[in-house]
């Protein structure tokens, strides 16, 4: 039986294995490495513009002089890259592709060729974005939100090529993720191992699939908007030009109708990864599986009706602010509930502080800060805080835990499965403490600067006497020093990652004594994943079940 079912999985040649693969694991690796590369580029941009803020007008080592023009391009593309080319490919595409078939006991995605196409379009979009730095006029600098009329006309933004390439890259990236998302949803719904019922699905897969549904439901208006903006740029059609009967604020609605669900598109997979890591290293059942699932769906639904809180002072009808304040504050309930449930999962646990677990715990501690500071901005506190560094600090306290801290938890956790070897725990802990401490060192000063009135996207505060005070300048220097420290603390990670890949201790099939199906496969899993496709007998988090000597009970074990 088994041989017949898997007879077509012959070992492919180099080209088909690494470059033209339809294997979900290889596509996941392609997404992971491309995403990590773009993350490094985005981090380097942050280094360049933060150095300019700390030491205005000085040459930045390894970069050069940051002019006002370059500053805008760097800030714009830092944001764009970190969200669209780092957080999304790594959290959703890499982990989604790697984990979905393995954790549901399937041999591959349902549509392997669509999967390959998805990565190829994604790669193309990344190349287009990087190319935009080398065209006449340079890369787009009108902020990652690309508000027209600035983004719509080269007369205003002075980047005739950069603005269009940026927009084309973003649109291509959306196409890639739509294709990937279709695959994730169909695979999870149709290809589960026999016996795996809806509530037996590991939480990380639910989160990736709910995220894909949110993405598909919200991105349509923005793709339409992107085409309208492209027509404005290239043919001066005037959808967003008031002189031609258009309206610039329309773009903001289209953008944020997508942009706010997008926050939850990346948040949910991060919460999913943390759930897997926490249950394994606390040897505990996830507290209230259904509660978690329903709050995630609830958060997803609510996230469609909060978008205008990004536009409180943008000239929308002021009465609308009241409505969006209510919906925005209500979303704090499911999100707070998720955090409570995760903390409750630790109750009566037996916590092992592995590097993966430390990152998972740090996610909760740090994300809480991002959550509570959002309340200031979702209410009329926004009249003051809008577009200040308070906002910058707030969303970095959400996105860094999501895209950096939770991703590291996932990488340290699944590395043994991906490469068959263990990572070094000592280096991992150096990396952990260095990253988390310096992360707080960057953004706590920025909360104060924001409260003191510093507004965003300013290359030098010398033109603003109230902000140019020496005390504030020293806070900017502190933030920059911690940023450099945080970047340097990534070196032990990369060393650990690449050396362990070849020289690490052999991992075996299930080094963490975990329950879910991916740990039944060999490490790394071969083409086709399982020798014999597994059956599922129980939910994923049966740890420390009373009456059993073993403190875990894999999903595939018959009794």
């Amino acid at each position: 039986m088994t041989d017949q079912a898997h007879g077509h999985h012959h070992e492919p040649n180099f080209f088909h294995k690494y470059l033209w693969s339809t294997d979900h694991k290889m596509i996941a690796m392609q997404y992971l490495f491309t995403g990590m590369f773009m993350g490094v580029v985005g981090a380097f941009f942050a280094y360049a513009f933060r150095m300019q803020l700390a030491f205005p007008g000085k040459e930045v080592p390894l970069y050069g002089l940051v002019t006002a023009n370059l500053y805008n391009s760097l800030v714009t593309n830092h944001g764009t890259m970190m969200i669209f080319w780092f957080a999304m490919p790594v959290l959703i595409a890499a982990f989604g592709n790697y984990l979905i078939p393995l954790m549901i006991g399937a041999d591959d995605m349902v549509f392997p060729r669509i999967n390959r196409l998805s990565y190829q379009i994604f790669l193309l979009s990344a190349i287009v974005l990087i190319a935009s730095f080398f065209v006449p006029g340079g890369a787009f600098g009108g902020a990652w939100t690309a508000y027209p009329p600035l983004s719509a006309s080269a007369n205003y933004n002075l980047t005739p090529w950069g603005a269009s390439l940026w927009l084309i890259a973003v649109a291509l990236e959306f196409v890639a993720f739509l294709l990937g998302g279709i695959n994730f949803i169909v695979t999870l719904m149709n290809a589960r191992a026999p016996g795996m019922k809806m509530f037996d699905i590991p939480m990380v897969l639910w989160t990736i699939v709910i995220a894909s549904v949110l993405f598909m439901a919200s991105v349509g208006p923005l793709i339409a908007g992107a085409i309208m903006l492209l027509l404005d740029q290239l043919l001066q059609v005037g959808f967003f030009d008031p002189a031609k009967g258009g309206d610039p604020v329309l773009w903001q609605h289209l953008f944020w109708f997508f942009g706010h669900p997008e926050v939850y598109v990346v948040l949910l997979p991060a919460m999913g990864i943390v759930a897997e890591v926490m249950t394994v290293f606390a040897r505990k059942k996830l507290f209230g599986y259904r509660t978690v699932l329903y709050t995630m769906i609830g958060t997803g639904c609510l996230s469609f009706v909060v978008w205008a809180h990004h536009q409180f002072i943008a000239g929308i009808d002021p009465r609308m602010s009241n409505l969006f304040t209510i919906t925005t504050l209500l979303i704090s309930i499911p999100v707070a509930e998720m955090c409570f449930v995760y903390i409750a999962t630790l109750y009566r646990g037996s916590i092992e502080f592995s590097t993966a677990m430390l990152f998972a715990l740090a996610f909760l501690a740090e994300f809480a800060m991002g959550g509570v500071t959002g309340i200031f901005l979702g209410s009329s506190g926004d009249i003051y805080f809008h577009d200040t560094y308070f906002v910058v600090a707030h969303f970095h306290y959400t996105f860094v835990p999501i895209a950096v801290i939770a991703v590291f938890a996932g990488v340290y956790f699944w590395f043994p499965k991906m490469f068959g070897r263990m990572m070094n725990e000592t280096l991992g802990k150096i990396h952990f403490w260095g990253t988390v401490v310096s992360f707080n060192g960057i953004f706590i000063p920025l909360f104060f600067l924001g409260a003191a009135g510093d507004h965003r996207r300013i290359f030098s505060y010398e033109n603003f006497p109230d902000s140019a005070l020496p005390a504030y300048q020293s806070l900017r220097v502190v933030a920059t020093v911690f940023l450099v420290a945080m970047l340097l603390f990534q070196l032990p990670f990369f060393y650990n990652f690449f050396v362990s890949m070849f020289k690490g201790e052999k991992a075996g099939k299930n080094p963490w004594k975990s329950n879910t199906l991916e740990w039944l496969a060999d490490s790394p899993p071969p083409h086709g994943n399982f020798v014999e496709l597994p059956k599922v007998y129980r939910p994923p988090y049966e740890y420390s079940v009373p009456g059993r000597t073993s403190d875990f009970w894999p999903q595939h074990e018959k009794a």
Partner: protein, 235 residues
């Protein structure tokens, strides 16, 4: 907030009150959350608790802790929403009767202010137009007519706790009432292109006498205009 940045408008204290209410509420939640979290981390470490318990989190006994917490979050939300809406209404919806009106135009990359001059009427010969300098009188209710010439800008006066985007094709009316004399920053708080970082201006909040003096000194005089015309003709 006042210790970080001065309050110079009649509603700055309202905005700050909302911020303080939120600060107190979320700080309590944040501290309780972190306290329980760290307590669990230490209490249930592998060393202190070698074998974990089995808790489904689905019995009423377990879920009551979560429910209690989330109903209290709801109560806090309602409290914040009420204060928040009062401030929205006061600052952005309700327009008190103006004692004077100014016009503000944002453009790449400067602020142009039109003051009504001695007759306190806009669009008359004695209007005073300035670039990057706004002069207002203490304790006077102003309306502003905010416009943008090219791209989005945002008129931001941190000491007023006032921020409002300027949009090409629209005239947005808002208000403020300065309550503290002095000279403060005006920012552009919306990305507006290469010069966004230099688009700063200053607001001068003067007493009635100082303000009258400033108007008198800067009034466009007939002789001044004639001299200007003559020199132009001579060229």
């Amino acid at each position: 907030m006042e210790s970080i940045i001065a309050q110079a408008s009649s509603y700055a204290a309202d905005v700050d009150r909302v911020i303080m209410i939120i600060f107190v509420t979320v700080s309590i939640w944040f501290l309780i959350g972190q306290f329980v979290f760290f307590k669990f981390i230490f209490k249930y470490s592998r060393k202190n608790n070698p074998r974990a318990g089995y808790v489904t989190g689905e019995t009423p006994e377990d879920t009551k802790w979560i429910h209690r917490a989330h109903y209290s979050v709801l109560v806090c939300d309602v409290l914040i929403i009420v204060f928040s809406m009062m401030t929205w209404y006061h600052v952005k919806q309700d327009l008190p009767k103006p004692e004077s009106t100014i016009r503000i135009l944002g453009q790449q990359w400067a602020w142009k202010f039109t003051h009504p001059g001695a007759d306190n009427q806009l669009d008359t010969a004695d209007d005073i137009v300035t670039i990057d300098e706004l002069h207002v009188k203490l304790d006077t209710t102003y309306h502003f007519k905010l416009e943008a010439k090219d791209v989005l800008h945002s008129f931001s006066v941190p000491v007023f706790r006032l921020k409002q985007d300027a949009i090409p094709g629209r005239v947005i009316t808002g208000w403020f009432k300065p309550t503290k004399a002095g000279e403060f920053d005006i920012q552009c708080a919306e990305m507006c292109g290469i010069g966004h970082g230099i688009m700063g201006a200053r607001i001068f909040i003067d007493t009635a006498t100082q303000h009258a003096e400033w108007i008198q000194k800067n009034a466009p005089s007939i002789s001044g205009i004639t001299a200007q015309l003559d020199s132009n003709l001579a060229k």
